[in-house]
Symmetry: C2
Subunit: 434 residues, 2 copies
C-alpha cells in the first residue's frame, strides 16, 4: 500500500461541504473525505473498500470545508487594521498605509510585526494567500521565511514603487528593478511553499520605465504579477492623466506588458470601476480579479459588479485586503461580499442580480483557489486543503442541514470555531487538545 | 458615607471612552469612572477627594465603554440567524420568520429557544434592548421572566397580527387586543427591569381595527409602541394599497394614532424609504428610528439615509434586527452601519456625507440609550451601564490611543473580548476568573 508511507494519506469523517460548481454546494452528513499523498480522492457517503486501510480520523459532527484563498492582503498593514476608517483611498494611503510601511526598513520592527501577521494567518480560514509586502527587500525575505514555517502556501511580493509616494519610494526605475533582482536571487531555491510574485504597487506609484521593466522581468523569469486596478474614482482619474495614451486603466497595464497571460495570470485587486472594455482586457489576458468588498466599502470606493464579471467568465477570487479590509477572516469577507452585491443590485443596477451564497462560497474557495492550480474544492485530484470547524456553540432548535450550517457559519463569522487546518494533506494547525 | 451602603457605589479604573456629543468621543487613559447608587458621577483623570473612600476596582489597560442599546431585535428568530440570506423581506418573512415564530405556541420549545437568546444577550455589548417576541402570550411572559433574571433592562412586546400572515395570526382585532390586555394583566407588577411595549408587527399584518385598538390602548395605558416602517419597496407599495387614504406609510400609522408623542415615543425600525414627508412626521411625534443596516443589506432592502435623519434632529438608535441581521453583536452593527452609510454617499446621493465613526458610536450608545432615559454615556447623572473589554489580543506596533482602540475594536467586532458588564451599577456578567 504505497499511500500509507507518510502521514499525508488518511480519511477524515465529518460533516463535509464544498463547491461542485459555482452554483452548487454539495454536502455529506457523516461523510468520508479521502486524502492520499496530499491529494483529495473525493468525498463519499460510504468509504470505498480501497481506502479502508488508511488511518481514519473521526470529527463527529464537525464541519469540514476546503481551505480558503485570500487573493489580496497587505501583510505590513496588519497591525493597524481597523484604524483610520473615515478616509478615502488616496488619503488613507498617505496618512496610514505609507507611513506604516515606511517603518519596515527596520528589521527588528519588521520581524516582530510580521510575526503577528503570520501567527494570525495560520489560524484563519485561509490555506493560501497572495500577499503584498513592502518595498524593503530584507523585510520581505523575513516575511517569506516566517510564512514558510506556517505550512501555508503563498505568493509574496516585494513592492515596487518609484514615484508619488513621499518617502516610501525607491530612487528610480532602475534602482527598483535592481532591488527586485537582488531579492529574487537571495530567495532562489530557498522556499518550498512561499513563492515570489512581481508587485508594482499601482500605476500612480510606478513610473513608465518601472512598469515596462516589471513587464520585461515577468517575461524573462516567468514570474507572475499582482497589482491594483480601478479601485477609486480619484485614482482612476489620476491614471488617465499619468498615462494619457491609455484607453482605460487596464489598457495602461497592457501598454506596459503587465496584464499577464492565461498561463502566467496577473492578479488585479478591486476592479470596482471596470467597464465592458476593461472586462474584455481582463478576460483576454486570463487575469484574476481579487474582489475586496470589505475594503471597497471601508475606503468609500464603491462596489464592483462581480456578478457581471462572473457571468462573463472572468477569473475571480476574494481578498480581505487588510488593512483597508479590517480582518483576515474570510467568513466576514463572504458576508460583506454578499451584502455588497445585494446593494449593487438594489442601488446601482437592478439588471445585475445579487450573487448567491453558493457563488460567493465558491469564489472564497475554488474561485481563488484556481490561481494556485487544483485547489479549493474536494473533487478528486485537488490538493487536500481543509479546515475543520466546531460550530456547536451556535445553538439551534432545528435539525439544520450542513448547507444551512455553512451559511450560518459565514454569517456569524466567528473565527474561534476553527479546530484544524490541512494544507496539501499536512496538518498545519490544531487547537484541539490531545 | 451614605453611598457606601450597597455594592452599586464604586470606582472603576481603566482606559475609558464615551460620547460627549454625537461628534466627540472623549477618552481617559488610566482614568477613573465613578458610580454612586447606580448613577454615573463622571470620568476623571484624577479621582476627586470625595470619592476616595469608595471601593476601587483597577482594570489596568482594559477598555471601559458605555453599555450599548439594541433598539430592535426579534428574540424568537435568534436560533435561525444566518440562514435564508438570499431572500427579500416578504419572502423571508413567509419562508423563515413566520414559520419559526409559529412554533412558539409550544411552551417547551419557547422556553428552550428563549434560553439561547437570553444567554447570548447577556454576554453581548448591549445592556438595553427593545425586543419583539411572538404573538403568543404565554411564551412572551416566559421570555420576560428569563430576561428579568439577566439584570439587563429591556422592553418586550407580545406581537399583534391579525391578517396576511398565514397560520401565524390572531382571529381578529378584538381577539388580538383581548390577548394583549390579558398579557398586560398577567405581568402587572411582576418585573422590575422588563417592561411591556405594544407591538403591532407592521401595517400589512394588522387590520385597521387592530391598529386603531393599539393606538387607543397606548393612550389608555401610557404604554409605548414599536413597529416597522418603510423597510422594503414591495412592502411600501403594499401599505399604499392597504391604507389608500394615507399620504405615506408613516401617515398610515398616524391615522391609527400609533406614531406616539415625545413623552411616549414610538420606535420605528428601518425607515429605509422615508422621504422628507415621513421625516417630518417622525420628528413631530418624537419617534425613534431603529436603524438596522445589517438587516437592510441582508434582505436587499436598501440603505437608510441616516446622516440626513441625524442632521434633521430625529431620534435614532441602532438595531441588530436579528434574524434579518445575523448577530446581536453591536460592534458588527457599527461596522456595517459605517459601510452602509459610505455606500449611500457613494452610490445614491453624494450630498449626504457618510456618518463618521464618532456619530455611529454615539448612535450605538447614547443615541439608542436616550430611549431609556439618561443612558448610554458616562456624563454625571446617567445610569451606570458599562462594558469592560480586554483588547490586548489585538497586537499592534504603535502606542495607539484609546480612541483608536475603540475604532479597531468595532472594526474587528469580536465579542469574546467582553470581560464584564454593569447595568445601573450592578454587575450582571463577568468572564473574569476570580
Amino acid at each position: 500500500m504505497n499511500h500509507l508511507r507518510d502521514n499525508t494519506s488518511f480519511v477524515l469523517c465529518g460533516d463535509i461541504a464544498f463547491s461542485e460548481s459555482k452554483n452548487k454546494i454539495v454536502t455529506y452528513r457523516k461523510g468520508y473525505l479521502v486524502c492520499v499523498d496530499g491529494i483529495c480522492k473525493g468525498a463519499f457517503n460510504e468509504l470505498p473498500e480501497e481506502y479502508r486501510s488508511l488511518p481514519l480520523y473521526d470529527y463527529g459532527t464537525r464541519l469540514i470545508i476546503p481551505g480558503m484563498t485570500d487573493l489580496h492582503v497587505h501583510a505590513p498593514q496588519y497591525t493597524f487594521r481597523g484604524i483610520g476608517m473615515d478616509c478615502e483611498l488616496l488619503d488613507w494611503l498617505k496618512n496610514y498605509a505609507f507611513q506604516e510601511e515606511f517603518k519596515y526598513y527596520d528589521m527588528q520592527y519588521a520581524s516582530k510585526a510580521y510575526s503577528f501577521f503570520t501567527y494570525d494567518l495560520k489560524r484563519c480560514f485561509s490555506t493560501r494567500a497572495v500577499i503584498f509586502a513592502t518595498l524593503h527587500t530584507e523585510a520581505t525575505i523575513e516575511l517569506m521565511t516566517q510564512l514558510e514555517k506556517t505550512g501555508l502556501i503563498t505568493y509574496v511580493g516585494k513592492v515596487n514603487m518609484d514615484r508619488n509616494s513621499d518617502n516610501l519610494q525607491e530612487a528610480d526605475a532602475s534602482a527598483s528593478l535592481k532591488a527586485t533582482r537582488q531579492w529574487l536571487e537571495s530567495i532562489d531555491g530557498k522556499f518550498k511553499n512561499t513563492k515570489p510574485i512581481l508587485t508594482p504597487r499601482f500605476i500612480p506609484s510606478c513610473s513608465n520605465d518601472l512598469m515596462r521593466g516589471i513587464g520585461q522581468l515577468s517575461k524573462e523569469t516567468g514570474l507572475r504579477i499582482q497589482s491594483h486596478l480601478s479601485e477609486n474614482p480619484s485614482e482612476v482619474e489620476w491614471v488617465k492623466e499619468l498615462v494619457p495614451e491609455s484607453t482605460c486603466y487596464a489598457n495602461a497595464y497592457e501598454i506596459f506588458d503587465t496584464m499577464g497571460t492565461p498561463d502566467c495570470p496577473t492578479i488585479m485587486a478591486h476592479c470596482v470601476y471596470s467597464d465592458e472594455r476593461e472586462m474584455k482586457i481582463l478576460k483576454n489576458h486570463g487575469a484574476y480579479i481579487a474582489h475586496c468588498a470589505d475594503s471597497n466599502m471601508n475606503l468609500i470606493s464603491g462596489i464592483a459588479p462581480i456578478k457581471k464579471f462572473l457571468d462573463a467568465g472572468i477569473n475571480i477570487g476574494l481578498g480581505t485586503d487588510v488593512a483597508a479590509g479590517s480582518s483576515m477572516n474570510m467568513l466576514k469577507t463572504i458576508l460583506i461580499t454578499h451584502q455588497a452585491s445585494k446593494m449593487y443590485y438594489r442601488l446601482v443596477d437592478n439588471n445585475v442580480k445579487p450573487l448567491t451564497f453558493e457563488e460567493i462560497f465558491y469564489l472564497a474557495t475554488a474561485g481563488g483557489g484556481r490561481y494556485f492550480g487544483k485547489v479549493g474544492t474536494f473533487k478528486p485530484g485537488y490538493d487536500f486543503d481543509a479546515v475543520i470547524m466546531d460550530d456547536s456553540i451556535m445553538h439551534t432548535m432545528r435539525d439544520i442541514s450542513v448547507r444551512e450550517r455553512i451559511e450560518r457559519m459565514c454569517y456569524n463569522d466567528a473565527d474561534d470555531i476553527i479546530n484544524e487546518k490541512f494544507v496539501k494533506g499536512k496538518k498545519v494547525y490544531s487547537s484541539i487538545k490531545a
